[in-house]
């Protein structure tokens, strides 16, 4: 697994000043473009959850849809998209989270998760943790049992982990 992580780390592209000046963005598209790295990224994300009986993977719009769907397939689970406000067509539940200035809202279909579901929450990157915590709220509100979180990259200096329930497995493949 260590070698896989090193190969993945080498493939991440650092893009300076995106989305705003002073921010160095971690671009995972070189991983996505390579079938071998893509498989290994999914395996590395899934690793602690292989025997966890996950029935639903929640992926957060938009980049969380990509590896989230593959993770669902890998674990034999269904996939649940969590989207920005107004994007889901059917009846939704919603959760607010704080931005640097103001709040944002994410939504999930009301029937996306059932009370007996065992849920894994995925996004490609955990930054401040606000979106992941809001995703957790949605899954809990629907009655699902959240087993853990799986992120490809953790931006440790933003301390997003502190926003999440630390009794759960918070798995991050790469830490920067």
């Amino acid at each position: 697994m260590d070698q896989i992580v090193r190969d993945l780390e080498r493939a991440v592209r650092n893009v300076p000043d995106f989305p705003t000046p002073g921010i160095q963005f971690k671009d995972i598209t070189p991983i996505l473009a390579d079938p071998n790295l893509l498989n290994r990224a999914v395996e590395a994300l899934a690793h602690p959850f292989e025997q966890a009986g996950i029935t639903k993977v929640v992926g957060i719009e938009a980049r969380g849809f990509i590896l989230g769907a593959m993770l669902a397939h890998h674990l034999g689970a269904g996939f649940v998209p969590v989207r920005k406000k107004g994007k889901l067509p059917y009846e939704t539940v919603s959760s607010e989270y704080e931005l640097e200035y103001g709040v944002d809202v994410i939504e999930m279909h009301v029937d996306a998760i059932a009370p007996n579901d065992r849920v894994l929450i995925h996004d490609d990157v955990i930054a401040t943790g606000g979106t992941a915590a809001a995703g957790y709220d949605l899954a809990r509100h629907a009655g699902g049992e959240v087993v853990g979180f799986a992120f490809l990259i953790e931006l440790t200096f933003l301390e997003g982990r502190a926003k999440l329930d630390d009794s759960l497995m918070i798995h991050t493949v790469m830490q920067v």
Copy 2:
């Protein structure tokens, strides 16, 4: 394959008046939520392309990321996200397409597709075909050989197929 298509058709949820009054939206989230249907949807999408030597699957933001990533994995290909303007961090190529009023722009990383790539373009739904045609332009501009298109649902009354190169395989799993 006929039985698979019937099972998928039964799972699609019709949502009236979304996103605007008078439009009946085809909601595929019940397919995504069911691991068995999800697998079958990917198999049905991939079916004509199993032996086509596809090296890159292009998925169009945001719903095209979900089955697109799984399709890439199924075909042993890499995944290329095509996104709305300003969302991709690295240098991009862009393509305009017409909306009912005005134009919209989608983008792809300049290095996402190489001249020897064999490309499959995916979105969940083909409506007017504008986005898919723009995705085709991006892949061609990068020098890739576009082998075909795979859509889960074709809204035949919008005649989107007419906007696409009809010398290519245009594969749609369900037609409404």
